[in-house]
């Protein structure tokens, strides 16, 4: 009887040890409320900023003032002034997609900062098409450019640390006037644990 228990003890304890150490990985909805929050810029922070900025941009009616609808938008420089290496397209792409879906603006992929096109093939096709059609009219220029900056500010008081990310965007028309500007700030606080940080 005792021997039977001993023979069971080993597999059970092995299962307990290794089962307890197993990593549980699951899918979470990226836009859902169960994503991880850290003091870094998290994926949901870009979504919060984009949601807020799209809301004010569409409500402003700034994109409705062009002669040809939908307005043509070019993406200018988006500066990352944070201590983290983040791809600013995590913010800008959401705004571009939302504007595209809204029907108010279309983004050009053949123009970019420093003459570098986002899509070089599309730029080549466009140039070739213009050459063979012997186009006399100048190419349509963007009605607006979108530029911006992401800024990080860190503060500390006793064992509480606070980090604020400021997402700033400006929509400039082809007269050089910023016709819409917005800033969305996201602040996070964390408390130092008993051991480490």
């Amino acid at each position: 009887m005792k021997a039977k228990y001993y023979s069971l003890l080993l597999p059970v304890s092995v299962l307990l040890i290794f089962g307890g150490c197993a990593t549980h990985t699951r899918y979470v909805e990226t836009t859902g409320p169960r994503t991880i929050v850290t003091t870094d810029i998290n994926i949901q922070d870009f979504s919060y900023a984009a949601e807020d900025m799209i809301k004010t941009l569409l409500a402003s009616g700034a994109l409705d003032k062009t002669q040809i609808q939908p307005a043509m938008l070019a993406i200018s420089r988006i500066v990352n002034n944070t201590t983290q290496q983040v791809d600013t397209d995590l913010l800008i792409k959401k705004i571009r997609v939302a504007l595209n879906q809204s029907g108010k603006a279309l983004t050009t992929t053949t123009m970019g900062v420093g003459g570098i096109a986002e899509d070089p093939m599309a730029q080549g096709i466009q140039q070739e098409k213009e050459f063979y059609t012997d186009k006399k009219e100048p190419q349509r220029m963007p009605d607006f450019t979108l530029s911006g900056k992401i800024i990080e500010k860190r503060d500390r008081q006793d064992d509480v640390r606070q980090v604020t990310y400021a997402f700033q965007l400006s929509l400039t028309d082809n007269n050089g006037l910023a016709v819409w500007e917005d800033e969305k700030e996201i602040s996070k606080q964390s408390k130092r644990g008993v051991i480490g940080w």
Binding site: T31, G32, P33, S47, Y48, A50, I54, G61, D64, K94
Partner: protein, 145 residues
């Protein structure tokens, strides 16, 4: 033993009173007695599955308007009936004329904080001019603090 109880009891009373008063911070408000702006309040249908959340985020009114570009704009006024700060999240969903959901990259659960007895206005703009209806979901904070 009796002496110990007699000395601990007042200390406990003071501590609990202090805890109650320090954890309850409510908001006082002032506004124009007769508002100039008139809200276009709309009738709403509510499905309440979390009564605790209902007290934390109580929906007062729902009004809508149109942006200059023809987008539906919605504003929800909520009140925290509790005396302490509460966390909650909300999400807007938009629907077209056929009741089909309009998918948008900006449809996210947005976390908010509301102070005790504070009234908060939550606004949203439809992602397209074809979005005619909406649904708003509220949820308690499910993230670990």
């Amino acid at each position: 033993m009796r002496n110990i109880t007699q000395s601990i009891l007042p200390a406990c009373l003071v501590a609990s009173t202090m805890f109650i008063f320090t954890s309850c911070t409510t908001v006082n408000t002032v506004e124009r007695a007769v508002p100039v702006g008139t809200k276009q309040v709309i009738a709403d249908k509510r499905v309440i599955t979390d009564d605790t959340l209902k007290r934390k985020v109580s929906i007062i009114s729902l009004n809508e308007g149109m942006t200059p570009g023809g987008f539906l704009q919605v504003q929800i006024e909520v009140l925290n009936q509790k005396n302490s700060m509460q966390d909650f999240s909300y999400r807007f969903e938009w629907f077209d004329m056929n009741g089909m959901r309009v998918d948008t990259p900006t449809s996210v659960w947005i976390p908010r904080q509301i102070e005790g007895q504070e009234t908060l206005s939550i606004t949203a703009v439809a992602p397209t001019t074809t979005a005619k209806d909406f649904r708003v979901k509220f949820m308690e904070n499910v993230r670990d603090d």
